[in-house]
């Protein structure tokens, strides 16, 4: 709580996420090299790049699922450092959706959604359940509330995962290849939910290979390779005339041109 009040001035106006000179090592291997990125409020960013380029690592640094060794990350005016209070504060403000859903298999869908509001937001159970039902309706699976994750299809599970994050009322949502583990017919239902979120003005960072989605939704596309940001541009420009050779190569592969 207290951490949020430190720098109200910046929190109101400047970028909601500021990443400066970020460097990250796995042992001797450098996974991120001098990454700089500023994200404005309500901005929708799509991150793409070849496998192993550091996309996951980058967005996992933002809520400190990964430690980093160089640079700074400031989220909504709070500096992400070793202070547990700051980390917990940022995690509450930032929702994340994983490729593998990561629903809690021993809890019902409803319990999955109420867990964090009850234990973090200290919400009465009734209230938390009402909130959860609202979000379940929004992702159109309210009728599954009593079931367990294992009984749902992949697309349904991913929508539950999104709803679970939304229950914490985050200011920013991170998506790490949310549709990569899904069958084609389920991808659409998840992308629709995400598009809905974007229309409502959620700040979003999405790692995805769905270029159609990127073209339609993104304000900016960030292309990464070998741990670096190679180029960033609005979708039109990015697809029409990519500047670097690496981007061209990547686009030709992924779009099959």
């Amino acid at each position: 709580m207290s951490a949020a009040e430190h720098t109200p001035a910046e929190a109101a106006s400047g970028p909601i996420i500021r990443i400066e000179h970020l460097g990250k090592w796995y042992g001797r291997f450098q996974a991120l090299k001098d990454v700089n990125l500023a994200i404005a409020r309500k901005e929708r960013i799509v991150i793409c790049g070849p496998s192993g380029s550091g996309k996951s690592t980058l967005i996992r640094c933002i809520n400190k699922l990964e430690d980093y060794q160089e640079g700074t990350i400031v989220v909504d005016g709070v500096t992400l450092d070793e202070n547990v209070k700051n980390i917990e504060h940022i995690r509450r403000e930032v929702g994340m959706v994983f490729q593998q859903f990561n629903l809690f298999p021993h809890l019902t869908i409803l319990q999955n959604l109420t867990l964090a509001p009850v234990w973090v937001r200290k919400m009465p159970r009734k209230e938390a359940e009402a909130l959860a039902m609202r979000y379940l309706e929004r992702v159109q699976i309210a009728e599954q509330a009593g079931k367990f994750p294992g009984q749902l299809s992949g697309g349904q599970q991913q929508r539950v995962a999104i709803a679970r994050s939304l229950c914490m009322n985050p200011k920013i949502m991170l998506f790490d290849e949310p549709t990569s583990a899904l069958d084609p017919e389920m991808i659409k239902e998840v992308l629709e939910v995400m598009a809905g979120l974007a229309r409502e003005g959620m700040t979003m960072l999405v790692v995805t290979h769905e270029m159609g989605f990127a073209r339609e939704i993104a304000d900016r596309i960030v292309f990464m390779d070998k741990g670096e940001i190679v180029e960033q541009a609005p979708p039109k420009e990015f697809f029409a005339n990519p500047k670097s050779e690496r981007t061209k190569l990547f686009l030709s592969q992924i779009l099959g041109r």
Partner: protein, 411 residues
Amino acid sequence: MLPLTTGYFAGYQPMQVLFGLFAAAALTGAILIKDRNLKGMLWEALAVSLILMLGTYLAHNTIVNLANRKIATGFDFLDREARFEISESLIPYSAASTYGRAMLVGFLNTLKVSILGIILATILGVGIGILSLTRNWLVRQLAGGYVHFLRNIPVLLHIFLWYTAITNLLPPLRQALSPVPGIYLSQRGFFYPVPEPATGWTAALYGLIAGVVLAVAATRVARLRQDRTGEILPTGLVAILLVIGVPLIAWLVGGAPTAFSVPALKGFNFEGGTSISPEFFAVFGALSVYTSAYIAENTRAGILAVSRGQIEAGRTLGLSEGVILRQIILPQALRVILPPTTNQYLNLTKNSSLSVAVGYPDLVSISNTTLNQTGQAVECISIIMLVYLATSLATSALMNWYNRSIKVVER
């Protein structure tokens, strides 16, 4: 019919011949007949008649042999006077008591060492299992070494090592070691003070029970309140305070007695206080330490079975590490840990039968003595087997029921 009455076949009776013929017929049928259902039934008939044939054969031999050796049959001996002493007993017993009572003493001793052993094995095992997952290199090595060292030595050897260590390495009674005043360690056992009976202590005992009940109730109430208002109360702290505080208050109210009966060397033995026999201690120590190595492995595997993604999902939701542990990791790990650990509990109970090797009077030791005195091997061994079987089946039934009840919640 001639060969059936002479020589080796003397044991065969018409019953067995009949079952033999059945078996032969069933076998022929099972081979020849093509209909699947009928074939199956004939196989079953074959199995049953073979078992009956063997069973009647063995039963007949046994009856003849027992008659030849003039050994009585039946369980009447249980009512007869046992005429042997038992070194430690939870219920009143003397040499004038019956064999039946002696067996009961043995069974209770088995339960005592098993239950205490299970408690210690669980504490050690879970602790070491968790320690083997820390980031600390030294601790990991030590935990790993503990598990490997203990598991690869037979449990009987453990028991003997403990027993020998106590009886060979500790001084004799008269020169007993006293690490802390009032506590004596010797070859003949460990002696330690106990409170003199007083109302204060009785009150404290009841206070402890009341404290536990209150703690459970308080936790429930706190939960309900949290559901209603969302407020998170420090239930763990309150529970600990209740469990410690209530008996303490009861003790104070009961007059705060401080008199202890302290063991003191008088002649050839200690008087006052109470003691743990080397036999009990060897069995208890060896079984719990040996079993804890297996429980540590189960714990480790169970916690590792919870995928990293689960913890990460909890973190991204902003849950604290404590909540992640209690609400996400433990419930999932427990369902992996519990079934193999139940098995280990049963193993520990069964391994307590090795008490006979050092003379701790458990069920098997006492049955063995009874067997030697009465010669009624069949009955005594049957009693051992039935008691263990009943204990095992009851435990597995209970655990299966529990496992299923937590499974339902999952799927």
